[in-house]
């Protein structure tokens, strides 16, 4: 019993006496990697003649976040920007015409989040945390090399607006000042579902025109994020 009390006391002692920085705004940035598993009736993967309604893709990009630290909590917004490639894609457009080819996609996701620094002892200046929040995203698919289909080309693209929620778990460096640029490393999972789909014309790069749009609840995706970065200031 005494040992148990000692352990509990130690946990709370360590958890309340060594926060990296407290009651401060901060801005951090880093690199991100995401693996997406997307399922939709608009996006079909053509694999040896078999048409599937689920595809996977990997993307690299940057992650940013700003927030306010009120230990042991942290409130703020985080953003993921990614760029990835897709191969052998069959894409069913809004007007039900189908195109095939290779391409790439990019996405931006913005999430208000709340983070909780776990009441666990730090390990070599590393503190663990969990967090989560709702997430809004915009995914755009560009077909670079259209092998078959209608007059869809690289200047046209299809965009999905998604909404969902995500959680993350990570470690951050427990340094006394944010000016010492604490580093963080985390893994997150976000589930999103589309609510709108656009077909756009980007032939004029300064002004993207919406050719058609409609409500859509057909795209669902699970994104696994790996983020690493540091507090800039």
């Amino acid at each position: 019993m005494k040992i148990l009390v000692l352990i509990i006391f130690s946990i709370f002692y360590y958890s309340t006496n060594s926060y990296a920085f407290d009651r401060e705004f901060f801005l951090s940035a880093g690199l991100g990697y995401s693996s997406a598993s997307v399922k939709t009736r608009y996006l079909e993967q053509n694999d040896d003649g078999e048409i599937e309604d689920e595809t996977e893709s990997k993307a690299f990009g940057v992650t940013t976040r700003f927030g306010y630290r009120l230990a042991p909590f942290e409130f703020g917004f985080l953003s993921d920007i990614g760029y990835g490639k897709v191969e052998d894609l069959s894409l069913k457009l809004i007007d039900n015409s189908t195109v095939s080819g290779d391409g790439h996609y990019r996405f931006v996701a913005i999430s208000p989040y709340i983070k909780y620094l776990l009441p666990l002892p730090t390990y070599y200046q590393w503190r663990s945390y969990v967090g989560g929040g709702p997430s809004w995203g915009l995914q755009t698919i560009v077909m670079d090399n259209v092998t078959s289909g209608s007059n869809f080309n690289a200047e046209k693209r299809i965009s999905f607006e998604n909404f969902g929620a995500g959680i993350f778990l990570g470690f951050e460096e427990d340094l006394p000042y944010k000016q010492m640029h604490p580093v963080f490393l985390e893994v997150g999972v976000t589930y999103m579902k589309s609510y709108k789909v656009y077909l756009t014309d980007a032939s004029n790069f300064k002004e993207v025109k919406t050719l058609s749009s409609k409500d859509s609840h057909d795209l669902t995706g699970t994104f696994v994020f790996i983020r690493a970065g540091l507090v800039l200031f």
Binding site: E24, F25, F26, L27, A29, T64, F66, F77, S79, R106, V108, I110, W136, L138, T140, R157, S159, E161, Q179, Y198, T200, A202, F205, K206, E207, V208, K209, T210, S213, L232, F233
Partner: protein, 217 residues
């Protein structure tokens, strides 16, 4: 002991920023309220073409919107806050970060610390989105976030590199330093020089003490 000094260009964070937060917040609320009144009056009085000015879908499909569409178009969310912009890389990843970086550098030149300059950039960007840009399209969540965040990160890089160039003493490098960071040419550029005590260890007369100061930047 002699202490030599070395003057370098730097941006300091010595400005008292809280009154400016309050002032900007009041201005934001005031302008936003005025715009709300104007836009609401416009929505009530205008014909279908004015209502549909921002809605390509309505223009192309139904020149005369039905009452439900009209109600949706004049709604608060439609008029003032869109959840997204179209994916426009030129604006989202080029123009907005650059404009955000210049706002950040303006506040840095005016004496704000980095995080305070970022916060002011956030407020200034929000002011622009809700007052100026609203006449062409609704403010978007994407721009509200990316302009200050990416702008401040880009501004931090520009600031560091321009300070490096300005401190080389080379006229050509100084020219490019000012060109990259034009806010350093404004009279606002306070704290132009920072006096840093140094010791000359090669001269034994000067060795013996080190002055340590910590600055908030």
């Amino acid at each position: 002991m002699k202490i030599k000094t070395k003057a370098i260009f730097t941006l300091s964070g010595a400005k008292d920023w809280y009154p400016w937060y309050l002032q900007n917040a009041i201005v934001l609320v005031f302008i936003f309220t005025c715009c709300s009144i104007v836009q609401s009056a416009q929505a009530n009085l205008s014909d279908s073409s004015q209502l549909a000015i921002r809605n390509e879908e309505v223009i192309s499909n139904s020149p005369v919107p039905d009452p439900e569409t009209k109600k949706r178009l004049s709604s608060y969310k439609y008029q003032y806050l869109d959840r997204s912009h179209k994916d426009e890389p030129f604006w989202n990843w080029f123009v907005h970060p650059i404009s955000g970086s210049q706002i950040y550098l303006f506040y840095r030149a005016d004496g704000y610390s980095r995080i305070e300059a970022f916060n002011m950039t956030f407020i200034t960007s929000a002011l622009f989105e809700f007052t100026i840009e609203i006449f062409t399209e609704p403010a978007s969540v994407q721009d509200l976030y990316q302009t200050p965040v990416l702008g401040s990160i880009l501004g931090l890089g520009i600031e560091n590199f321009s300070m490096y160039l300005l401190n080389t003493g080379n006229p050509l490098a100084s020219f490019f330093g000012h060109l990259m960071n034009p806010m350093t040419m404004l009279p606002l550029f306070k704290g132009k020089t920072l006096i840093i005590p140094t010791t000359d260890i090669k001269n034994p007369d000067n060795v013996g003490a080190m002055l340590y100061t910590r600055l908030e930047f």
